[in-house]
């Protein structure tokens, strides 16, 4: 039996390696490197459009010209930008992102603790939006153009037009100020008090998740209804006497889930971008808050590191989406198109 399993694994592996789409993913993997490099050059260039202001910022307005020059020399800011970039890049590949100008802490250690917080927020928002969107879309597609379907469409179209910072304030107004169910701002680490942690994360996660929920519901409902209306395999299943829920879930939804994965992957950069402003509103000590603080104090290495982390996460997420897609979809897995 083990031999059979082994052979089967080998066959799948061989199919994976031979499939043209997998080679495409391999290419994408190689592409991720120049893309990340490009992003880091772009960030560095943008942040250096106004040279020397980091030293000026640190010393205040009253500093003399000489003091600023001296500090710039000390921080190495008097060197040409491209040398500083190569210097930074050399450090970055060995895991050293430099020191914060302001707090003199290692940037990597600053990032570490913040990253966990933002990661929790992103996961909560993503899982929350999907857990709600899938049943709502299924219910809506079960009877298209009926009351529930119409209602869910109205909600999702208007939900897509609400800015997340507005939504955040509305949520605070209702659930923190009026009802007092959740704290308006603040953060408690998960390791300290898991329940209190989830209470502090609930409103920020909801503010990020709601527009995504609307987007996923709309996408999934549209995809399901499209299939139900005219695909042969649906008609075959219905003709065989398969029940409507089973057709919807086993035949239509299973197929739609691939598209959904792609959409979730594509939306990840939106999701990550949203944490910047939401963390600011709810005073959550994540990566976004660190970045806004660093932008305001012109702490350039910290800003640079934050932007790179955001970009790398986006690139990796898109890669994982491609891979997942290739592994899950049998048409791609066996390379027959």
């Amino acid at each position: 039996m083990t031999v059979a399993v082994e052979r089967r694994t080998r066959n799948v592996t061989a199919a994976l390696l031979a499939s043209p789409s997998l080679r495409l993913v391999g290419k994408r993997l190689l592409m991720a490197i120049p893309i990340t490099l490009g992003v880091s050059i772009l960030t560095f260039w943008v942040l250096n459009l106004v040279p020397g202001s980091a030293a000026q910022q640190l010393l205040g307005v009253e500093a003399t010209e000489e003091q600023v020059r001296a500090l710039e020399r000390e921080m190495g800011l008097d060197r040409p930008a491209w040398i500083r970039y190569l210097d930074w890049l050399g450090g970055a590949v060995t895991g050293d992102l430099g020191k914060s100008f302001v707090s003199d802490q290692q940037v990597t250690s600053l990032l570490g603790e913040r990253l966990v917080v933002t990661f929790e927020l992103v996961i909560l928002a993503m899982v929350g939006s999907l857990v709600l969107a899938i049943p709502v879309a299924l219910l809506a597609a079960y009877r298209p153009n009926r009351l529930f379907d119409r209602l869910s469409m109205v909600v999702s179209v208007s939900g897509l037009s609400v800015a997340n910072y507005v939504l955040a304030l509305v949520l605070v107004l209702i659930f923190a100020v009026q009802l007092g169910w959740f704290p308006a701002i603040g953060y408690v680490p998960f390791t300290e008090d898991p329940v209190e942690n989830l209470r502090t994360m609930a409103l920020p996660a909801a503010a990020i998740a709601f527009p995504l929920f609307c987007f996923y519901t709309r996408f999934l409902r549209g995809d399901l209804v499209d299939q139900l209306l005219g695909q042969d395999y649906i008609i075959t299943a219905q003709a065989k006497g398969v029940g409507p829920w089973r057709v919807l879930i086993r035949h239509a939804f299973r197929n739609s889930s691939f598209g959904l994965i792609t959409v979730v992957g594509l939306n990840l950069s939106t999701l990550i971008g949203a944490t910047v402003i939401i963390e600011q509103i709810f005073a959550i000590p994540g990566l976004g808050q660190l970045m806004v603080q660093a932008i305001n104090t012109r702490d350039m290495l910290v800003v640079q590191a934050c932007v790179i982390v955001f970009a790398v996460v986006t690139v990796v997420a898109n890669l994982v989406t491609d891979l997942l897609y290739a592994v899950l979809d049998p048409r791609i897995r066996y390379g027959s198109s």
């Binding site: 592409m31 120049p34 893309i35 490009g38 992003v39 772009l42 960030t43 943008v46 942040l47 250096n48 459009l49 106004v50 298209p144 153009n145 179209v157 208007s158 897509l160 037009s161 609400v162 800015a163 997340n164 910072y165 507005v166 939504l167 304030l169 107004l173 100020v177 527009p211 987007f215 709309r218 996408f219 549209g222 209804v225 499209d226 209306l229 959409v263 594509l266 939306n267 950069s269 939106t270 990550i272 971008g273 949203a274 910047v276 402003i277 600011q280 509103i281 970045m291 806004v292 932008i295 305001n296 012109r298 800003v303 934050c306 932007v307 955001f310 970009a311 986006t314 690139v315 898109n318």
Partner: protein, 290 residues
Amino acid sequence: MAAVDAPVATVAEADAPRPRRAWVRKLSLWVPAGLTAFVFLACFLGPVVLPIPAPVGGNVLESSLPSFSPGHLLGTDPNGNDILSRILHGGRASLFVAVTVNVIGLAIGGLLGALSAYIGGKVDTVIMRLLDVLIAFPSLVLTLAVAQSLGPSLTNTIFALAFFSIPAVARVARAATLSLRELPFMTAAELAGTPWWRMLLRHIVPNIAPQLITFSMLGMGTVIVIEGALSFLGLGIPAPNPSWGNMISEGQASLSATPDLVIWPSLALFITVLAFNLLGEALRTQWSGR
């Protein structure tokens, strides 16, 4: 899919084709069109025609009046400025930014995408890979960095946002041009010895324009939301000049005591973005031939 990413993600590709009565279809186009026109008129003509005070330099004696006070329909803020006036003037800035950004994005992105697809080969690959770099980016993040680097101002906000609207438009333009290239009239025009720039301007641009304009309607909403986010973080239109983003941000401080300060500009933002989104949707349905 969307380079200019925002809370308002690009609306889903697939919606069920379903037969609709003609008047419903007409209504779903004209209601958002009317709403959009109303928003533009209110913001650009409203402050000129209506007897409302200036958006800045209010009288401190009239500070923090509640909504529906005499002379101040939506009340005043803690500095004594009329809120309705601030919303209309802030709307001017938002709409101006959104229109300018989209025009720049359409012109540069559209030409770049069309040219890339028309030339094809290596040039196409290089242009598209470069745009991939920009698309890979959470654009709010770099827009923040740009805004901080250049200093908060209207022009810099426009530059930063336009930069990130280019790749998405270019992708749409490229896809549209690729499917166009195979059509007989293109071959005919090419055989007639039409120069490349004439091919581009006379044959490609008019044919991809509907798709691009539809896409830019959805882009309008996105830009308005991101501009609001920048102003909200204090990196967009600098105070005391009004913008919806900085009004919401100022109101946040006294959210529990005077929620009106947040509610009115939020409502203005919501209605405007909704109008653009619905208009974009309706145009797409119209042009996809249903």
